[in-house]
């Protein structure tokens, strides 16, 4: 293990390390801690220039209550869920299939199709922006949740295919061969042999996708406008325009907007990190 395990170092360094750890964490998360404190401050603190001090009174409930009742925040949140959940399902379903095809079968075009997905996943969004916006307009889906979902599913299929294909490649191929010898049809192999083994990959990918899609901002402002279809990342800017300089409300709003992926991360941490670091070790 590197660096030297702390148990094998001098006592003085052990103590320093233990003390330094929480200190470093507080420094690292200082911006977030500041926002969290902002969000429970009363309005008057900002008027009295008490920005970084302790809140003069706890107004957390009032502030968060206002976010949920006096703004469009609930609608934006609902939109975000309506965009994120179908996208996750769609992209994971499509990539289970593409990943299976590219991971199991040997045919000439295999590697090129795989590279098409990988390369497409890396392109800058801007090269897609005008044509995709145009396509969405022509389909009559501009400013609809469906329009945004369709694009996200298509684009994320690139990354998801990369992920699933590499996962399936690592499965024991003998299982499939054994099933073929038994005369089991190919789609049944997919459904009854491979899919059950993919559960951890599906979980990892689903959490990862949830975070990516929830946090998307660019496509939200390109393909939607207005409260009926925009997700919370785009909504937060109009929320902030509505409450300009009301820092306590802006903070509370931001925290509400950031919470679902954060909750997802802490609940599904193991899967999340497994997904993110796939390929980081041989």
């Amino acid at each position: 293990m590197f660096p030297t395990p702390i148990e094998r170092t001098p006592r003085s360094w052990q103590v320093t390390y233990q003390a330094f750890l929480p200190l470093a964490l507080i420094l690292w998360l200082l911006p977030l801690i500041a926002v969290a404190i902002f969000s429970v401050k009363p309005d008057s603190d900002f008027a009295n220039a008490n920005y970084w001090g302790w809140p003069s009174e706890f107004k957390g409930f009032t502030n968060y209550w206002l976010v949920f009742t006096a703004s469009d925040m609930p609608q934006y949140l609902l939109n975000s869920f309506k965009i994120t959940i179908p996208t996750v399902i769609g992209a994971v379903a499509l990539s289970c299939m593409t990943g299976f095809a590219l991971g199991i079968y040997k045919f000439k075009a295999n590697i090129w199709i795989f590279f098409m997905f990988v390369a497409g996943n890396f392109v800058p969004f801007q090269i897609l922006m005008v044509p995709v916006r145009d396509l969405t307009l022509q389909l009559g889906l501009y400013n609809t949740i469906t329009g945004l979902v369709l694009f996200h599913v298509a684009f994320q299929t690139g990354f998801c295919t990369l992920f699933m294909r590499n996962f399936i490649r690592a499965l024991p191929f003998e299982l499939i061969e054994a099933a073929r010898v038994e005369g089991i049809s190919e789609w049944r192999i997919f459904w009854f042999v491979v899919l059950p083994l993919m559960k951890p990959a599906i979980a990892a990918l689903a959490v990862l996708m949830f975070t990516f899609i929830w946090n998307d901002y660019f496509w939200a402002i390109v393909l939607t406008q207005g409260v009926e279809s925009q997700p919370v990342t785009a909504g937060i800017t109009s929320f902030n325009a509505q409450y300009r300089a009301a820092y306590h409300l802006m903070s509370a709003g931001s925290i509400v907007a950031a919470l679902p992926p954060v909750a997802m991360f802490f609940l599904m941490q193991r899967h999340f990190i497994a997904g993110l670091t796939l390929g980081a070790v041989k």
């Binding site: 590197f2 660096p3 702390i6 148990e7 390390y17 964490l25 690292w28 998360l29 200082l30 977030l32 500041a34 926002v35 220039a49 970084w52 499509l94 299939m97 593409t98 590219l102 079968y105 590697i111 199709i113 590279f115 098409m116 997905f117 990988v118 390369a119 497409g120 890396f122 392109v123 800058p124 801007q126 090269i127 897609l128 922006m129 005008v130 044509p131 995709v132 145009d134 599913v153 684009f155 299929t157 946090n215 901002y217 660019f218 402002i221 390109v222 990342t233 937060i236 800017t237 820092y247 802006m250 931001s254 907007a257 950031a258 991360f265 941490q269 670091t277 980081a280 070790v281 041989k282």
Partner: protein, 305 residues
């Protein structure tokens, strides 16, 4: 009756014989179709569009390479390009920073798991929120940055209002989540480092930096590769933070190509789709160099298997 069953039999045996060739294509079809229509075709459409002058509504007018010629004389284009280079270079700092934090956290003390996940926290948060938080951090009237500067006797500064500092200021905000990402990659990588090699190194008298550079870092190669890929892509994709923190300002000083393109094509500055597409093509070609390299590395690895 009998004939029909023979025909069916024939059919099923045809399917049976070709099953293994056809199945992958059936499984690929929906994914490929989606991807072609939303990702691959639009790339070519953008190339084509960059030869037109189009406001997004009326008729497109063919102008040849005029958009590129205009780009050549466009001051704002060079500012954006320069900022893209700065982004690319400074953003790479996330890699050593991530490695450093990973080394710091790679211990087994009580509660370290919680520490690791809390350190990773910034990556999970939307860049829109990160941007907002850092805007307040830099705020000239109440931002904590000036409080800190004052504490060490430096004059206050308005980072996001200063043409020379604004890009660096935004990049620092971007480095925060990116460092967290690289950290988690390296933490996973460090888990897999071969303890025997470390022991062997220790016996040979390797310590500290030497040990890190000659024994640990080479074993972290896969993690480093992924860290490079995601950081370079992230740097060239930077949009959210700029849009939220400065909207390209002051006086366009914090624009990058991705933001400038959006501004030209879809904001109040006019709907110049063709010109925007030309900017996107330039950005795409820059990215293509990296994509080609990444694919080449992957290809070599596939071959080696």
């Amino acid at each position: 009756m009998a004939q029909e069953s023979v025909a069916q039999d024939h059919q099923s045996s045809w399917w049976h014989r070709n099953q293994q060739q056809l199945t992958p294509w059936l499984f690929l079809a929906p994914g490929i179709l989606f991807f072609l229509f939303y990702v691959i075709f639009p790339i070519f459409q953008s190339f084509n569009l960059s030869l037109y002058e189009w406001d997004g509504l009326g008729k497109a007018e063919y102008v040849g390479l005029y958009n590129y010629e205009e780009l050549y004389w466009d001051e704002a284009f060079y500012t954006s390009l320069k900022n893209n280079v700065i982004w690319l270079l400074l953003y790479l700092l996330a890699i050593p920073a991530g490695l450093f934090i990973a080394l710091f956290l790679n211990q087994t003390v009580t509660g370290i798991r919680l520490y690791k996940s809390l350190f990773f926290f910034p990556f999970v948060i939307s860049q829109v929120v990160v941007g907002l938080v850092f805007t307040w951090f830099y705020d000239p009237t109440f931002g904590i940055l000036n409080v800190l500067l004052g504490a060490v006797g430096l004059p206050p500064m308005n980072v996001l209002g200063d043409e020379n500092w604004v890009t660096v200021g935004i990049i620092v905000a971007g480095l925060w989540p990116q460092t967290a990402y690289c950290m988690i990659l390296y933490l996973t990588g460090l888990n897999a480092v071969d303890p025997e090699q470390i022991e062997a190194g220790r016996l040979d008298g390797a310590k500290g930096w030497k040990m890190l550079w000659y024994i640990i870092v080479p074993q972290l190669r896969p993690a480093t590769f992924i860290a490079f890929v995601v950081t370079i892509i992230g740097a060239l994709r930077s949009f959210d933070l700029i849009s939220v923190m400065t909207n390209g300002g002051p006086f366009g000083a914090s624009r990058v190509l991705s933001f400038y393109m959006f501004e030209v094509a879809l904001s109040e500055y006019g709907f110049r789709m063709g010109y925007g597409a030309a900017i996107a093509v330039v950005l795409f070609l820059i990215m293509l160099a990296f994509i080609a390299y990444f694919l080449w590395s992957m290809y070599k690895e596939e071959k080696a298997r």
